[in-house]
């Protein structure tokens, strides 16, 4: 029997990393929001590695924070190790990476959700999406509860018809033994969506007390940990070490002997797995001549002996996994707590989405996270916050928010997904961004806080703090531009350090542009009268040193933005436009780009096709003017 269970502005289905951000964003924007999850005990659960951040991903976490999201703060409150990566490789690619306390992370996120105004949390498995006349109306759960809403956000992770595979054993399951969602797929197919099947995997977990650390190398966190969130009020936490070991010839021998029992090779897995996250059996087969592969041992939390074995993702049979583990230095007598596994699940082809993450077929229905073909907590959360924002905007009749590729990694990711689709689980890499020098860890606030505050997601006090920082940066830049120094003032320090002398007076800004002079040195020689915070000086230094390249990329962006501003009408019939190639007609009709800029990024659409579109648009507006 079904019953009327309530009416909402926004319903979010699934409380993983995408769902949590979506629900919090929607509620914070003032829409009455319901968050449904199969199990209240696994909110913001991390079924794979206990870590958040890293190159590109860490910058996404900063972007979520700048918009007014949650992942950064929750990580800062629960981490057990923090490192700034790529410190020697340039500020554009520096990124924070945290080891998380899994249980604590989930608990803090659950508390945040429970205490959020406008947000109702409830356990329930959704079996059906209800839509009328191409518009979403609500959802129905397994227990017959009917919820009605103006917008629905689907964040189903790997739960849709999930199937776990361990060697020759397989069973229907969500991640880590959770209940899978077996019926929702049918509802999506009924609504007309195309689905695909993806696969991902996780390594075994072991008991810390059975690890011998004597000959392993410790991987400590940074002595002075930085934080993801743009705040001053986050206290540093005690940190734990990770440890590094390697596979051996024996490990590879055992894998080789048991390949026939590996589902990846026996053909038992149909789903497409990610290239950047191969199983150990994959690595051993593809890179035969490597004598050893890295294995990181990582704690899953402060109050547990369960450790994660990074580098050993596998779907080999359980008995082989134990044998394999024990060939690794330090793990000779290890106790395996859980086996690694592969998991297959249903995902939607993301080209069925608008850049707002709303589905083209059902108005008011949004999707985010693994259902869109991505992989990773940060990718999920980044889409989650955008889907949550746009679902709320939809419910509240406000303008949607779309981030450009030049605004954020989140913009790069969503544009890639909805414009090009993906044939494997999608992971963000810094190389996917054409404006990498602009999308930095240090300037996520500068890039996004205006947007976060304008839509009402970023609270005033946090925005005010940012404005103060921005003013500090501008003031210091003004000083560097205005202060001129004579070569004689530089002689002592420069000759000590073997730095070439300028021939005439120079500004401090010009000095800072030189690779061998950093802000610290500059400020020692010519101190500012006022205290300049690290945050400000870092921004000033990077902006100054990068200026030439940034200007170049900004010019490219402005050119591209003109194309983004040329909207394509929703009812455009590409097949009727003479001059477009047949391939382009097909691709354009499939992707339905919102503007000429997006059209230009579709694979198979050439610059000549874009010229044709421009002429067509101009011709159309002239005809309208003539008829009007």
């Amino acid at each position: 029997m079904s019953y009327h269970a309530g009416e909402y502005d926004v319903i979010v289905i699934g409380a993983g990393h995408a769902g949590s951000e979506a629900a919090l964003a929607a509620a914070r924007l003032g829409s009455k929001t319901l968050l449904l999850t199969i199990n209240l005990d696994t909110i913001a659960f991390m079924p794979c590695n206990p870590s958040i951040g890293g190159p590109a991903k860490g910058i996404v976490v900063r972007e979520i924070d700048a918009l007014g999201g949650q992942m950064a703060l929750t990580t800062d409150l629960t981490y057990i190790q923090m490192r700034l990566l790529n410190t020697g490789k340039g500020p554009a690619v520096q990124a924070l990476r945290a080891q998380s306390d899994k249980a604590l992370y989930g608990r803090v996120m659950k508390e945040t959700i429970e205490n959020q105004e406008n947000l109702t949390l409830r356990q329930g498995m959704v079996e059906r999406i209800v839509a009328n006349g191409g518009k979403v109306a609500g959802v129905v759960t397994q227990t017959g509860a009917q919820y009605f809403a103006k917008a629905v956000v689907l964040t189903t992770g790997t739960y849709l018809r999930g199937r776990i595979i361990i060697g020759d054993v397989s069973y229907q399951s969500g991640p880590n033994g959770q209940l899978p969602s077996m019926r929702l797929t049918d509802s999506l197919i009924d609504l007309g969506f195309s689905l695909t099947r993806f696969k991902t995997g996780t390594p075994p977990r072991v008991n810390r007390n059975s690890i011998c650390f004597d000959h392993l190398a410790a991987q400590p966190g940074d002595p002075e940990p930085r934080h993801f969130s743009f705040r001053d009020d986050v206290a540093p936490r005690d940190q734990m070490d990770c440890w590094l070991t390697y596979t051996t010839e024996d490990t590879h021998g055992i894998i080789g002997e048991n390949l026939h029992r590996a589902p990846m090779f026996s053909g038992d897995i149909e789903g497409r797995g990610p290239r950047y996250c191969p199983s150990i059996e994959d690595k051993v087969v593809r890179f035969r001549d490597r004598p050893a592969h890295q294995v990181f041992l990582e704690p899953e939390g402060r109050n547990t002996a369960e450790w994660y074995v990074q580098g050993l993702s596998t779907s080999l049979p359980e008995d082989v996994q134990v044998q394999m583990l024990r060939t690794i230095p330090g793990l000779e007598r290890v106790e395996m707590l859980r086996p690694g596994y592969a998991i297959e699940y249903d995902a939607m082809l993301p080209t069925q989405l608008w850049p707002t993450l709303e589905t083209k077929m059902v108005s008011g229905l949004f999707t985010a996270g693994q259902i869109n073909g991505t992989s990773g907590y940060e990718e999920a959360a980044g889409q989650g916050i955008m889907a949550g924002i746009n679902a709320a905007m939809h419910a509240l009749n406000r303008e949607p928010v779309v981030l450009h590729r030049s605004d954020a990694y989140i913009g790069v990711m969503i544009d890639d997904l909805v414009t090009k689709g993906t044939s494997e689980p999608y992971r963000l890499l810094t190389s996917r961004a054409e404006y990498r020098l602009l999308l930095r860890n240090d300037n996520a606030d500068e890039r996004l806080m205006d947007i976060g505050h304008r839509i009402g997601l970023l609270p005033n006090e946090r925005y005010d703090r940012f404005l103060a920082k921005r003013e500090g940066v501008e003031a210091e830049k003004r000083r560097l531009r205005s202060v001129r120094v004579q070569p004689s003032q530089l002689e002592e320090v420069f000759s000590d350090r073997g730095i070439a002398m300028p021939s005439a007076a120079v500004t401090l800004e010009q000095l800072l542009k030189r690779p061998e002079i950093d802000y610290t040195l500059l400020n020692q020689m010519f101190p500012s009268g006022e205290t300049v915070s690290d945050e400000v000086s870092q921004q000033v230094e990077i902006d100054t040193k990068y200026e030439g390249y940034v200007t170049r990329q900004t010019q490219e962006i402005n050119k591209q933005k003109k194309l983004e501003e040329l909207r394509l009408p929703a009812d455009i019939e590409f097949s009727a436009i003479a001059g477009l190639s047949n391939e382009s007609k097909e691709k354009l009709a499939q992707v339905k780009p919102m503007n000429v800029g997006q059209a230009s990024r579709i694979e198979g659409v050439s610059p000549a096709d874009i010229s044709v579109l421009l002429i067509w648009l101009e011709a159309r507006s002239r005809r309208r003017a003539a008829n009007g």
Partner: protein, 458 residues
């Protein structure tokens, strides 16, 4: 809308006495100023004025050609942008050289129909014309794609692909160092990048040096028409040359007795010569022994063997057909308007069918078949050019030079101790620029390279 500056040759490429190169865009005046030496700077010149002067090389200032330059300022021009038209001496060499300097000075080569496209977007030409342009662009896309596909086999393309592969391997190495900071792959250190880029930069400069002296820029592909007397060699040559002119100038050509003519087919320059004057003799060996024609055949990159289809195959014809095994050649079955005495089957015993073209001077539309056949041979990789840069044109050369500048920038940055994230920008730029020459810029290339080159994952 499009603010970048474009340039193209507006008149026919060939032996015309003058040629016009058109430049349009917000920086058109500045671009031309960089290579124009006259009494004024064009930026200062009033609109709709003509100036005498010289076009010079951007780097050395060396004179290239004496020119008349017309300045038309926005919006009172065809495209409604600033437009400069350079009137120079005709002939491939001068025109190509000026175009190359324009590209070096900051213009890019215009796409087909781009001037009219701009005119339309600027509110200039009417709808009907715009639709014509859309169709032209569409048609060119198809043709261009085919050409790009064929070029994939070309020799220049092979060299560029090899260079790009080396660059992308280096890029993948940098990207892995950035995206997988804790992986035990060898880090892309400064020394490693320096070694790689220094080597690549040298290879690229060598390629540029050869390309700059490339025969094609001056002479084109040597194409020799052979055949018995009176099979229609001269009229074929005349038609090839005239068709070329008629396309653009609309001036009916006068039939001259041409011995050698420079023509272009789909942008490929050919130098076509006629071996007329060979005495009629039964002894074909003796005939080929005539010094001049033998030399011509020996030097040929491509042979066009003309056979009179209205007469039975003679011994000389068969001897010529035998040359096909040693040289790239196309057989032109001429005089198809007369009752044929030779069939395709007979010829196809000597030559593959796609190498045979049926032709008649009274059916000029058949010329297109011949041009297609020539392009197939040119792009099919069968020509064994004597230097690698067979097809290098001004556009190729300017892109090669731009790529070289990007690589130089990487090396300079390395010396200054600049970090990986910045080095990657210029290295990538070199890769993208080289890709433009062969029409390739897919992003996934890099990811594919990363995952095939390195063992990654958690």
């Amino acid at each position: 809308m499009d603010s970048d500056t474009i340039a193209a040759i507006a008149t026919a490429v060939g032996e015309a006495s003058i040629a016009v190169i058109r430049v349009s865009g917000s920086c058109a005046l500045g671009v031309v100023d960089r290579i124009f030496r006259g009494r004024v700077s064009l930026e200062q010149a009033p609109s709709h004025t003509v100036w005498h002067g010289w076009i010079v090389r951007l780097d050395s200032g060396q004179h290239i050609d004496e020119v008349l330059v017309t300045v038309m300022k926005a919006p009172r021009s065809y495209t409604t942008e600033d437009v400069v038209e350079i009137g120079c001496h005709g002939g491939t060499q001068a025109v190509q050289a000026i175009l190359l300097e324009l590209l070096r000075a900051g213009a890019r080569l215009a796409e087909p129909g781009e001037f009219t496209k701009r005119a339309f977007l600027g509110g200039r030409v009417d709808l009907a014309q715009a639709e014509g342009v859309m169709e032209l662009i569409g048609a060119q896309t198809v043709a261009g794609k085919d050409a790009a596909l064929r070029q994939v086999e070309g020799s220049l393309t092979k060299l560029i692909k090899a260079l790009r592969q080396n660059i992308v391997e280096l890029m993948a190495h940098i990207e892995v160092t950035i995206d997988y900071p804790e992986h035990d792959v060898e880090e892309a250190t400064s020394e490693l990048i320096k070694d790689g880029v220094t080597r690549l930069s040298r290879e690229l400069r060598d390629l540029i040096a050869t390309a700059a002296s490339g025969r094609v820029l001056k002479t084109g592909i040597r194409t020799v028409i052979v055949g018995r007397p009176n099979v229609g060699k001269s009229s074929l040559l005349n038609q090839l040359a005239r068709a070329e002119r008629a396309i653009v100038t609309d001036i009916p050509g006068t039939t001259r007795d041409i011995v050698e003519e420079g023509i272009q087919i789909a942008g490929v320059p050919l130098r076509v010569s006629d071996t007329a004057g060979i005495r009629e003799t039964t002894d074909v060996v003796e005939r080929l022994g005539v010094m001049r024609s033998r030399q011509a055949i020996k030097d040929a990159d491509l042979l066009l063997i003309v056979i009179d289809a209205s007469e039975a195959l003679e011994e000389e014809d068969e001897e010529l057909l035998a040359l096909v095994s040693s040289l790239p050649a196309i057989v032109v079955l001429n005089k198809m308007d007369l009752p044929p005495r030779i069939g395709l089957e007979e010829i196809s015993q000597h030559v593959a069918l796609e190498r045979i073209v049926q032709y008649s001077v009274f059916r000029p539309e058949l010329l297109r078949d011949l041009e297609q056949a020539i392009l197939r041979v040119v792009f099919g990789g069968e020509l064994q050019p004597r230097d690698a840069t067979f097809l290098a044109n001004a556009r190729h050369l300017s892109l090669l030079e731009q790529a070289s500048v990007s690589l130089q920038q990487v090396l300079e940055s390395l010396d200054m101790g600049v970090t990986l994230d910045v080095l990657a920008v210029d290295l990538r730029q070199a890769w993208v620029t080289l890709g433009e020459i062969i029409g390739e810029t897919p992003r996934e290339d890099l990811l594919d390279q990363i995952f095939s080159q390195f063992c990654l994952g958690k």
